[in-house]
Point group: C2
Chain length 488, copies 2
């Protein structure tokens, strides 16, 4: 199967010839697709209809979310659509839908009262913020009781990050981001903020500046900051994720403190995304929230984000900010006007987060056990592929998060982002979506994030497809190696 | 009661001395309050913490939403807080909470399935967009069957307007807006879009250019467009509301067509807000949706917004765009990433909008009858006040929407926006929130929008407070007149 042909099917559907619902007519998207030509009349019409920024945002979206759009229009279903896309590219926990459905259908959830139907407090209903403060106090292991006044609820972690970037940075200001870093915030930064994210590359191999694979050393941060200043960039913050995404690792407590001290020394805000804090499924690993620290080096410049991922309810569309900085809370408030969450959803969320007995006795043990099992299954399949095809597949992930960061650069010839894209498209040919390293701003081609928190039957099918794609890629790789030998 | 003292209470609570939850410490807000001084150290800290745009958005918000913030922290309750704020300033229908609660608690509403818990289609779940298309086809009286492909769902009408302005306009582009116009969109335009809203003043009095009070004549639009062009402004669109807000009137079909033709002649987009289309409670009034027209002059540049107001569920946080323009749908899609609605809310909304039997036989007749009654009650109270105080109170509203646009300029001496603010604060002293003309970009001081869709007991209490404030204002007015006589 040719990789370019393989992806033509969803593109056709999107271009309006399909019968499915995703058949929007995205002229904008076509422009961005490789090989697509835009006629003069189309361009004129587009420029008359859409603003420049409208075209820019669309183009960025459709070049980064092609797979997602295709998936929405052609999702795998065991019976109804067994040839549809399996999506191990987006990160959402699908392992506990049964538990969550059961909990959400209980009587205490279906409650309506007048304030839930009316305009809310733009920071989130006080009853929910109080519950969130209690929840974070407990699960982050905070030495002090956290306060509802420091909580802001918006309709996704990305919306929280976007609003925070608006409030802390002016256009053209910059934020340091160790990469690979998850693509959600990278896209969010594009939409409104005009904030530049400066990647601080953390490499996979040991070098002079990289004493451990994927370890963010303070020296790298210092160097990146210095380089940015040399270029007259105004660096306002440092963006971190702990547990890391896509690396699937947690920060050591000492490292965390070092990052916070570095930020304080340089008067940088630290935005720390702790989205997967309850998805540490290996019991030997200890997660340290910044909110657990006895004292924060710079509490007014430390801002924590948490959201829906730990409960597998990305469809709830909520994200939470916790910050000790009252001015930031105050300045974030107006953003609730355009990014708020429905009252009935806020109510359910309160019931959910407040049911500590269920979370501790039912949800977390079962969820962690299922994550462990799915993770183990994928590792086993990767080892089988190594044996089958006789090449080493290295990967990161030590037992937290929903994903494994896999090194497939041995299958690229040459090892370039063009060839990474070829392999990515080969997965798509097999109706399997992974996310590729380039979308994480990673500088080494050949890495992919594989999300494993999927039902066993679908995960099995996905790994079968993965194996088929790898087999095909191996043949392609051999062919290229032979051609190289002939030409050299 | 002194008007400045009167408003100091909520401000104090907001500044952090209160015990309530609204006690954020908004230095930003203090800056904006009349008479508040900002110390150098405060200013330095703020400028170090927040971005310039963060300060700007906050300042705009807290100067326009002071009343709302006060209300959220000190809401009236018959038993628990009978001295709390009554809010006839924001527009939300509180008359049918009983009906809505009953409907939302029925069994068909509390349903969970996997896709509702997961990442959605950013345009809105297809099942809901299909229902919206059917709903609009029927209630807008569309001659063709509307298509789900032309529907975009975001998390409020304001978010829809904001995204639309992003997609159709570049920064500094302009949109014509007949004023008075409701403040929601005006605030939305401030947050992200940087689009200039050019007011086209529609006056209350008959003049050479105003042959009818509050009538938007094409000549005015032509003149405003010409003036804007003379100033080298790029005018991209025309923003309309039908039914009008705050005027409480509907557009005649012929006028509507004229506006659309004017827009087509000048290659302007028309964004038309039909939010109150089902809140026309006087049966003799006929509402014409643009979607009911046999043919639109420029379908690719005509975009309709509808939302939660007709059902009194502003807390659902949803807004809908219907546009025939596929490119606009396509370009709006990425905005769902930061403005989407939770799956469970989308499901309930689908059940609600699809229950035509309940809407037609139960909800609309009862809602319209209650609106009519509340409207009639307020009119009666206004007439009683006229008799009591011996001055004429004129107002607009012919039987649609949730509000009356009231002329109180007879009580201002002199008739300025400063004196309008004095009267506004006098209402606040009496713990009554109305919204004043200036926030609708209206050029004549002395007009207020009074929202009457409130429970009878609260409406009675609110009108008592209104009367007390008017009485006090009358005394103040007499005093000022006497002083004027002495000094002249």
């Amino acid at each position: 199967m040719d990789s370019n042909q393989g992806f033509s099917k969803p593109s056709e559907a999107q271009a309006g010839t399909g019968t499915g619902d995703t058949s929007q007519a995205p002229l904008v998207m076509q422009r961005d697709q490789p090989g697509a030509q835009q006629s003069d009349s189309e361009a004129t019409f587009l420029s008359q209809t859409l603003s420049n920024r409208g075209v820019k945002i669309s183009t960025f979206y459709y070049s980064n979310f092609q797979d997602y759009e295709a998936y929405q229009g052609d999702r795998y279903h065991t019976v109804l659509n067994s040839l549809g896309f399996l999506n191990l590219g987006i990160s959402e926990n699908r392992l506990c839908v049964d538990l969550m459905t059961e909990r959400l259908c209980q009587n205490d959830m279906n409650y309506i009262e007048e304030p839930l139907l009316q305009y809310p407090d733009w920071r989130g209903h006080p009853f929910l913020r109080a519950e969130v403060a209690k929840f974070l106090s407990y699960y982050c292991g905070s030495p002090i009781r956290l306060n509802l006044r420091n909580v802001v609820l918006l309709n996704s972690c990305c919306a929280v990050f976007s609003a925070l970037a608006m409030v802390l940075c002016d256009p053209e200001d910059a934020v340091l981001v160790p990469t690979p870093f998850h693509s959600g915030f990278l896209f969010s930064a594009q939409m409104y903020t005009q904030v530049e994210l400066i990647p601080v590359h953390v490499g996979s191999e040991i070098t002079n500046t990289n004493t451990q694979p994927f370890e963010l050393m303070i020296g790298k941060l210092e160097q990146a900051l210095l380089e940015a200043k040399t270029k007259n960039k105004k660096v306002k913050g440092l963006l971190l994720a702990n547990p890391q995404n896509p690396l699937g690792e947690v920060n050591m407590k000492e490292s965390l403190k070092e990052y916070l001290k570095f930020a304080k020394r340089n008067e940088l805000h630290v935005i720390i995304d702790e989205t997967y804090m309850l998805s540490v499924f290996d019991e030997t690993i200890i997660f340290h929230s910044v909110l657990s620290l006895e004292s924060l080096p710079d509490p007014n410049r430390t801002h924590v984000i948490w959201g829906s991922k730990d409960f597998g309810i990305t469809g709830f569309r909520f994200g939470i900010l916790y910050t000790h900085n009252d001015d930031v809370v105050s300045a974030m408030t107006p953003f609730g006007y355009l990014h708020s969450v429905s009252g009935i959803t806020q109510y359910k969320l309160r019931r959910l987060l407040g049911d500590r007995d269920w979370i501790n006795r039912v949800y977390l043990p079962i969820n962690h056990s299922r994550l462990q099992e799915a993770y183990g299954y994928v590792i086993k399949r990767l080892h089988e592929l190594e044996e089958q095809f006789g090449f080493k597949i290295t990967f990161r992930s030590i037992g937290c998060g929903l994903y494994i960061w896999i090194n497939l650069k041995r299958l690229l010839e040459p090892c370039t982002f063009e060839e990474e894209l070829v392999l990515h498209r080969r997965f798509l040919d097999h109706k399997l979506i992974l996310s590729r390293g380039k979308s994480y701003m990673f500088k080494e081609p050949g890495w992919f994030r594989l999300m494993f928190a999927e039902h066993s039957q679908r995960l099995r099918e996905a790994m079968d497809r993965f194996g088929q794609a790898i087999e095909e890629q191996k043949q392609y790789w051999i062919q290229k190696m032979l051609e190289d030998e002939v030409t050299s």
